[in-house]
Symmetry: C2
Subunit: 416 residues, 2 copies
């Protein structure tokens, strides 16, 4: 691992060369490297939390100066939040052992997954986390230096100006993983020939019917609104407007959620007894709301006639991330799950389940809304590719075919 | 299937919408469509071969007028070549049944794989195959019209000017598969934000040692020189220059192969008795020869000290397609197969084995030299992606965690 001052081309070439070494290291050597990272981070907890506190302080200072500072940004940034540092540490061991769950902080995530999967990685932190990033990377760098992992395998860049140059190096770089909002992902996609693992915004939608509706909807929206797997659009079947919807809306309002309603859903709420207390929290939806990733306690609500309209809306306006249906009908649920073109399609479960830790991957590099290579939460397997090896005894293609004395290919399905 | 006159944006939007229908059709409906294509093509054999003959005639006429016409192009174009039409037909049934091997002609390949995998496809034929393309597509179009496959699922474009517009439609198109030489692949990659399945040139290299060397090398080079899995660079270990190399070279020369030799390998041949008969077929290699896809009876020959130099050469100059080692040492072979960064790494077998039919995939859309999504021969599985479905009973993320009364995620490895 190196905090690189090399030119982007040199950095990328070194990373490529390092990956050729890394991929030939035995699993034990890669696991040792992960143990070293874990021990390093654990030993440097105070130093890292102090750096992180400086980042948070800088972010709050900018907010005081009028810069937009979302609660979402602070939630993501704060390593001191209860359990977050422990989750980060556990994520590294989980990747090493590939058994138990664990979440973790981005830089440690990616470095672990890269080492374990035999890929090199060049990391660029967000400017708001500069101090935390430097502190963590110093520890990881020192830890890896004691192992067989080549120095070029994990590299860090700290200035934004090298990004366009890196995006040009498709001869060395196999995949770009932007982590951030829609705007970043769009910028990256339009600036490179390298495949981009689109960690785009999550426009998760739920179509409710049964009585657990309120619980699942509230969890999907409010469990961690800053996350990309939070609910952003609620599609309400017309027949449920006066039956199931009011209870769900009341529960959302009680949690402080702003409801951006289409005319029919707004009219349905106007009849409810609780509406008058929450007048400022029930507003008219604009068209753009149905394509917006709020990442905050805001929810777009749209009325649909039935399943077909819901699916058409999701396939047109959705982000291909995760979409859920709440219904007691298995037939409707299966049709929904097959027809919606998204990485995850759920029946009667919270969209917040879309997560590498919850899926049992240990940790994730992001959630892919592409259909290329990896889809949904991307963990170790999502970063791997296969290679065809043939061990022969001099077999030649010319010996096979239809003519006299030719051999035939036997293709058998073998037991796994 | 439609020979489209629609704007590229309309064509792509229709294809996307059709894919949503196609992916929900039961396997039986998709298989019926493949049966219909098969029957249609079989019934129109004479008409298609006549159209193909017109393409070949036009190609030969252009060659007579001085246009470059490679033997490689004619080989690929000629549907009348013994067994080729039958292979095309069998490929369709193989995709349908996914059991037995079969090769096939591109348009039928891609249409079958698209229908079977539930993807839509927009196809553009090469200008040299215009007549064949129209004849085959007419048959496929009529066949599919009788099935449940939506009309937009397979579309054909015949003019080159729509390509840049299609490459701009990343909102509808998930993957571009250029089939052609290096120049086409480079143009496509530099012109689109859509991921490109790089079917780049095959720079297959072999490093010989044991006695089957001559057979495997000759097969790799001469079995079908127009194919991307043909041998283009031979790396000779220095210690084999006077032992194994001369016999292999003699066999290659007897097949009419031009050897582009580095100084050491040329000097080794100069000592051989057969050299004087083949003086015009043993020439000096230029640097560019080691990065050239000849697709003809030409081979670059380079001397290397040992395994490390061979691997470094391949990882620097190779195309990540298929590379083989000929050796009696299992240790050297395993090191080679792990260290070479390519879709296929072989020990003691011909590079010509790199083929979807030979791998048992039925047919292929191409050979991927990317490490993203699919690698090596790409058949049905290589065109698929997974989707995460959750069937719940109202599970919410907030119920899981570390606190009092919280549930834990259980991740168990289930038997397959």
């Amino acid at each position: 691992m190196s905090m690189t001052n090399a030119s982007p081309a040199d950095a990328a070439r070194d990373a490529k060369a390092a990956s050729h070494v890394l991929s030939t290291l035995p699993a034990s050597a890669r696991n040792e490297a992960l143990t070293a990272i874990y021990a390093g981070l654990e030993g440097a907890r105070d130093e890292i939390l102090a750096a992180n506190a400086r980042d948070l302080e800088a972010a709050r200072r900018q907010a005081a100066d009028g810069a937009p500072l979302s609660q979402s940004l602070v939630s993501r940034l704060d390593l001191g939040r209860k359990g977050k540092f422990e989750d980060m540490l556990r994520g590294i061991l989980d990747v090493r052992d590939l058994e138990d769950p664990g979440a973790s902080e981005v830089i440690a995530n990616i470095a672990s997954l890269a080492v374990k999967s035999g890929n090199s990685a060049i990391l660029k932190g967000g400017k708001e986390s500069t101090e935390s990033f430097k502190a963590i990377s110093k520890v990881i760098s020192e830890a890896l230096a004691k192992t067989q992992v080549p120095n070029g395998a994990i590299q860090l860049v700290t200035t934004r100006d090298v990004i366009p140059q890196l995006l040009d190096l498709d001869q060395y770089i196999d995949l770009v993983i932007p982590r951030g909002g829609n705007e970043l992902v769009r910028y990256i996609k339009s600036s490179t020939k390298i495949p981009v693992l689109g960690h785009a915004n999550g426009l998760c939608s739920i179509r409710p019917t049964p009585k657990m509706a309120a619980d699942v909807i509230v969890d999907s929206k409010t469990n961690y609104p800053a996350a990309c797997n939070s609910l952003e659009t609620l599609l309400v079947q017309e027949s449920a407007l006066d039956t199931l919807f009011p209870a769900a809306a009341e529960a959302l309002l009680a949690k402080g959620v702003l409801l951006r309603c289409d005319p029919k859903s707004k009219a349905a709420l106007a009849k409810a007894s609780f509406a008058s207390q929450h007048g400022d929290k029930i507003v008219d939806a604009k068209d753009a709301d149905f394509e917006t990733e709020f990442l905050a306690l805001e929810l777009a609500v749209k009325t649909v006639v039935g399943l077909e309209e819901a699916v058409a809306h999701i396939n047109t306006h959705g982000s291909k991330h995760t979409d859920a249906i709440l219904t007691s009908s298995p037939e409707l649920a299966e049709r929904f799950m097959n027809s919606v073109d998204a990485a995850g399609t759920y029946w009667n479960a919270s969209t917040r389940m879309a997560d590498g830790m919850r899926y049992g991957f240990g940790t994730e590099v992001g959630i892919s809304t592409n259909k290329i290579h990896s889809r949904g939460p991307v963990g170790l397997e999502g970063l791997m590719i296969y290679k065809y090896k043939i061990r022969g005894r001099g077999q030649v293609a010319g010996a096979y075919g239809e003519g006299d004395g030719k051999k035939h290919f036997l293709h058998e399905r073998l037991p796994l």
